[in-house]
């Protein structure tokens, strides 16, 4: 066990701040075998206990000792999805589906946000919460809208996410919403000690919540603050719960796991636009297939002034900002 991250945690109790695992640790290459969660646990806890339990458990589908979801066969996946659907349907008193739609061939998703249009109304923030079943209390938001001063330009040091106003835009200000940038070179994925988060072939960075140990290395590795931790049991009113879910996306999470934007994986893999795109009253949010030369996202890349956040970190986001004027 060579990884420098602090050990695993149980049910949301932090074992300590995981500092600098992104920087101090050599990147994990896809080819390099990751430790299984069982190995990881055993080494970290030095434990006869975990090994013993593992030895005699009858493995339930959602149990701790199954393989990563992505490594499972179709039958096993179907079993897990059915179990989850049943569990959530009972909990929320309505028929809940848990899908696992695969990536579409020839598709790599990209996003572009027009900062000359955004007025900071936060409609996207709450549409995202509703679509993706974020916890209402404690509050989890995958989108953070930063208010900045026109005079200062893009300046995170003076950005304010807690602006309040009768009407927006406020004179002299502009707005920069930040969410997962779906990096082509994602530091969060490299920092995960158990391989619970990865990049899908269509570019979406996903989390297997059943595999996440809640160590939060990914949170400190992410330069965009785009990952969020459930430090308490998430609360979603049953009547507001979105019953159309995806295993790697908006299915209800548990206490102690990290979650993030997936471009609405449950929608986009079925051809739909992400919820934030469809709700934006100024039409500042654009989405499509980067590999399709006829897509609106490619039109933007080819015709508009485009930039990405923190180029110097070489994360290579698939989330672009542009000036539509």
């Amino acid at each position: 066990m060579t990884r420098s991250c602090n050990g695993p945690t149980t049910a949301g109790v932090p074992a300590g701040a995981c500092t600098g695992c992104a920087g101090s640790q050599p990147p994990v290459h896809a080819a390099q075998p990751l430790p299984s969660r069982r190995e990881f646990l055993c080494v970290a806890a030095g434990c006869a206990a975990a090994a013993t339990t593992a030895g005699c458990t009858d493995l339930t589908h959602t149990g701790w000792f199954r393989e990563r979801f992505r490594d499972l066969g179709a039958d096993e996946k179907a079993g897990i999805l059915a179990d989850l659907a049943k569990e959530h349907s009972e909990r929320f008193h309505k028929p809940v589906t848990v899908g696992a739609e695969p990536p579409l061939p020839g598709v790599e998703f990209g996003y572009a946000l027009d900062i000359s249009r955004c007025i900071g109304c936060r409609r996207c923030v709450y549409a995202c919460v509703e679509e993706n079943n974020q916890s209402r209390d404690p509050q989890v938001h995958w989108i953070r809208v930063l208010e900045m001063e026109k005079d200062k330009g893009i300046d995170f040091a003076h950005a304010n996410a807690y602006y309040d106003a009768e009407k927006v835009p406020r004179p002299g200000h502009f707005y920069l919403p930040v969410q997962c940038q779906q990096c082509q070179n994602p530091p969060c994925v490299k920092s995960c000690p158990v391989g619970a988060t990865w990049q899908e072939p269509d570019g979406i960075i996903v989390v297997d919540y059943d595999w996440c140990i809640g160590c939060r290395c990914c949170m400190s590795a992410c330069p965009y603050g785009a990952r969020h931790f459930n430090f308490a049991e998430p609360e979603i009113p049953a009547e507001q719960m979105n019953p159309k879910t995806h295993y790697l996306g908006n299915r209800p999470r548990m206490k102690g796991v990290v979650e993030k934007c997936t471009f609405c994986i449950q929608r986009v893999r079925n051809g739909r636009y992400p919820a934030c795109v469809e709700v934006c009253p100024v039409g500042a949010r654009k989405f499509g297939n980067l590999r399709d030369p006829n897509s609106e996202i490619r039109y933007i890349l080819e015709h508009k002034r485009v930039f990405v956040l923190k180029t110097e970190l070489n994360t290579r986001p698939r989330f672009f900002y542009f000036y539509g004027v």
Binding site: P14, A17, P105, G106, V107, E108, I119, G120, C121, R122, R123, P138, Q139, H141, R144, I154, F156, A157, A161, Y163, D164, K167, V168, V178, R216, M219, S220, C222, Y224, G225, R227, F231, V268, G271, Y273, V277, P281, V282, G283, K286, G288, N289, R291, D292, P293, N294, S295, E296, R298, Y299, I300, L301, H303, K304, R305, V306, F307, K310, E312, G324
Partner: protein, 183 residues
């Protein structure tokens, strides 16, 4: 410690400021696989119903085509007093856009008469750049399928045709600050 941890992401943003001058974005490697599906060019633009005030359409309920129209530029007195034209009003009059004979239609400078569901063509006569971007899906908003059928909002869903400046909105609630969270 919990608070410190929660603030970490934000501090990350602060410590590494965005270098906006660095606009070089490498995207040219997003290449299409041979034979992959591309977005079909849409022959017909589908739009939601025009955002008329309830009861005002059809206009011909009042504007009987048999009765000659008063084409004189004048303030409205007996109807349509709820708005004043604030759209290049020194050069413009109602009948530059609304058809004189058939009030249920608009007309272009060419004289071609068009439906209200095609009002973007009218706007596009004077706002060619915005119209081009709108057709490409960049100005305005589309919904539906990113890889298939789409619905476009009309220009007038966002811009009042008579006073088109976009109106400020009330923002949704301020997020809870990490420090305000219950323990």
């Amino acid at each position: 410690m919990r608070i410190a941890l929660l603030l970490l992401p934000l501090m990350g943003l602060v410590s590494a400021a965005c270098d906006e001058s660095h606009v070089q974005v490498h995207w040219s490697h997003f290449t299409q696989e041979p034979g992959a599906q591309t977005q079909p060019e849409e022959s017909r633009i589908e739009v939601p119903p025009p955002p008329f005030t309830e009861g005002v359409f059809p206009c011909t309920d009042c504007h009987d085509p048999e009765i000659p129209t008063n084409t004189k530029r004048r303030p409205m007195k007996t109807a349509h007093t709820e708005f004043t034209l604030k759209h290049d009003e020194e050069h413009r009059w109602c009948l530059d856009c609304h058809d004189t004979k058939d009030r249920d239609k608009l007309h272009l400078a060419s004289g071609e008469v068009i439906e209200f569901t095609e009002s973007y063509r009218l706007c596009g006569q004077c706002h060619g750049d915005k119209y081009r971007d709108w057709r490409a899906g960049v100005h305005g908003r589309r919904s539906g399928q990113w890889n298939g059928h789409k619905t476009y909002l009309l220009c007038v869903h966002c811009h009042n045709s008579h006073a088109p400046a976009f109106q400020p909105l009330k923002p949704e609630p301020v997020p809870v600050r990490p420090t305000e969270r219950k323990p």
